[in-house]
């Protein structure tokens, strides 16, 4: 496969870093090469946070997103900040509850935050719901590999909840009106 650059960006506490790591692990399980990088502020919660994942069939040169193919924006700030870095033909997944101004032609709106809240009662699985959306929407990794990577990465006591979050994310896409 050709190089794909994915940026997952939002606020600290949404599980953005963990989601990126899971996506990269799923890519490796799918037989691709992958890199993951995390950028966060000094705060543990509430500050801006982002994960870059690069997936490719062969060796990866620059390990960060440089020309973003797919942006998952989980805050207004993230959408505004990274919109200029999206490559021509790139796509954006947003939740309009977090980024109401995101209505570009290349943008698809999914209720990631409400779904995460419904599954977990909070925002911790937001990133995993977003991964479910991403996989159903854009492919990039095997669905089974993604499930395996989620199960392997999250704490055992939260495994069932996270797998439910992944399934609910996928259903946001399959149930979406085209």
């Amino acid at each position: 496969m050709t190089r794909s650059e994915i940026r997952i960006a939002g606020a600290g506490g949404q599980g953005v870093v963990t989601a990126g790591r899971i996506l990269a692990e799923a890519a490796i399980l799918s037989g691709s090469n992958a890199t993951h990088n995390q950028v966060y502020g000094p705060q543990s919660r509430g500050g801006a946070s982002r994960s870059d994942v690069v997936i490719a069939g062969d060796e990866i040169g620059f390990p960060l997103a440089d020309e973003i193919d797919l942006l998952i924006a989980l805050s207004s700030e993230a959408f505004e900040k990274y919109r200029p870095e999206i490559v021509d033909g790139g796509r954006v997944i947003v939740d309009s509850r977090c980024a109401p101004e995101a209505d570009d032609d290349n943008t698809s709106d999914f209720a990631v935050v409400d779904t995460a809240r419904a599954v977990s009662g909070g925002q911790l699985v937001t990133g995993v719901v977003a991964l479910g959306v991403l996989q159903a929407y854009a492919g990039l990794v095997d669905a089974d590999a993604l499930g395996e990577a989620v199960a392997a990465r999250v704490p055992a006591k939260h495994r069932a909840m996270n797998l439910e979050a992944l399934r609910a994310g996928r259903e946001l896409v399959s149930g979406a009106i085209p």
Partner: protein
């Protein structure tokens, strides 16, 4: 080789240290190096080693030096603010000739700066941070796999030359996870220990290599350790001839083997008209930029040093002889560019592209720099 795993740069450093035989870690965690301490504290006790969290970075390197003199392979890891505190003891380790490894995962400075953002602002501090004339061996990896390899190399060089070795990489390299296959077995160098009569032992007498054998405390050889200028017995002296000879030996034991120490990767330089000089994460950006520039019809190439010090002057001079222009790209306001100019010696035009705002220099940015003919920065 092991199976491909998604490993973070800082974890690769810890694993490289263990593979090299590290059995002592003394440190004080600091972003963006903390994962090295986290992995060491998990892995080192099971490997029969000792992990000590010290009260600060001064004490951390003191503990490392003590452990090394007791026969351990010892390391610490830090970032800019802690690296500043360690300078005193780096000089002590140079003077007392104590093998040890100091890792500095660079973040934005000066002072506490940008704790979670990358920088390459410490490359001159790594050379000249401690006072007095001293040799420096500083390695600079560009990938997670190279962090592992160069951590092993850092220990081997420290042991071989009885000197501190600094492993220097930026936050991006430290925090990036990449799919890597780590080697099952690595080549290990151990310090030379004395085998003669303990009664005649001169702890600072060296053979032709310039490196005196180093016993561990407890081996039965008595020796004195000091940061003062000292004679072959290890005791302080203010005799200028003796002090000068010591300083000379401490330098030449490294400089005589510079050809074996310095290393730089070159990429597509053969027919290049413009060469990028970049290290660390910027080396990755530059490699991409070379490929993209060539797609656009510009004959670009890359020289990427993996040893910053001793500086690979010969490799840079050879590259400069082939091209019209050298573009030095670094995440600081211009540090290694002075060395590049010195090594280039007028053979090619040298221009810089500098960035010190906490963001890495990207391939797109460098493609623009190359097509514009170089120069500029933020």
């Amino acid at each position: 080789m092991s199976e491909a795993q998604l490993i973070q740069g800082n974890e690769a450093c810890a694993r490289g240290a263990l593979a090299a035989g590290c059995n002592f870690y003394g440190g004080y965690p600091i972003t963006p190096s903390s994962e090295i301490a986290e992995h060491m504290v998990r892995m080192l006790p099971d490997a029969g080693g000792v992990f000590v969290q010290m009260e600060d970075e001064i004490a951390s390197l003191a503990a490392v030096i003590g452990a090394s003199l007791a026969g351990s392979k010892a390391m610490t890891a830090t970032s800019g603010p802690g690296f500043s505190l360690m300078q005193e003891h780096i000089g002590f380790a140079v003077m007392a000739e104590v093998p040890c490894v100091v890792v500095n995962v660079m973040r934005g400075g000066p002072s506490t700066g940008l704790p979670t953002s990358p920088s390459q602002g410490d490359v001159m501090q790594a050379r000249w941070g401690t006072h007095g004339d001293h040799p420096a061996i500083v390695l600079a990896p560009s990938s997670v796999g190279e962090v592992f390899d160069l951590t092993v190399r850092a220990f081997n060089l420290a042991e071989r030359f009885r000197t501190p070795v600094i492993l220097l990489y930026d936050e991006v390299i430290g925090h990036t996870r990449e799919s890597v296959q780590l080697p099952e077995k690595v080549e290990i160098v151990d310090r030379v220990r004395p085998d003669g009569d303990a009664a005649d032992f001169l702890p600072k007498a060296a053979d032709a290599t310039g490196v005196p054998p180093l016993p561990a405390f407890g081996d039965g050889y008595r020796f004195h350790v000091t940061g003062l200028s000292h004679d072959e017995r290890g005791f302080p002296t203010d005799d200028g001839h003796v002090a000068g000879a010591l300083l000379d030996r401490i330098h030449t034991k490294v400089s005589d083997y510079e050809d074996e120490i310095t290393a730089a990767e070159t990429f597509m330089l053969d027919d290049a008209e413009v060469a990028l000089f970049a290290y660390g994460i910027v080396g990755r950006s530059a490699r991409e930029a070379v490929l993209r520039s060539r797609d656009a019809g510009i004959k670009a190439g890359l020289i990427r040093p993996t040893t910053l010090w001793p500086f690979p002057s010969q490799q840079v001079a050879a590259a400069a002889a082939q091209v019209d222009k050298v573009i030095v790209a670094e995440m600081n306001l211009g540090q290694m560019i002075g060395e590049v100019e010195r090594a280039t010696a007028g053979q090619a035009e040298v221009v810089g592209h500098m960035r010190a705002d906490g963001e890495p220099i990207t391939p797109s940015e460098l493609v623009g720099v190359v097509s514009a003919g170089g120069g500029g920065g933020h």
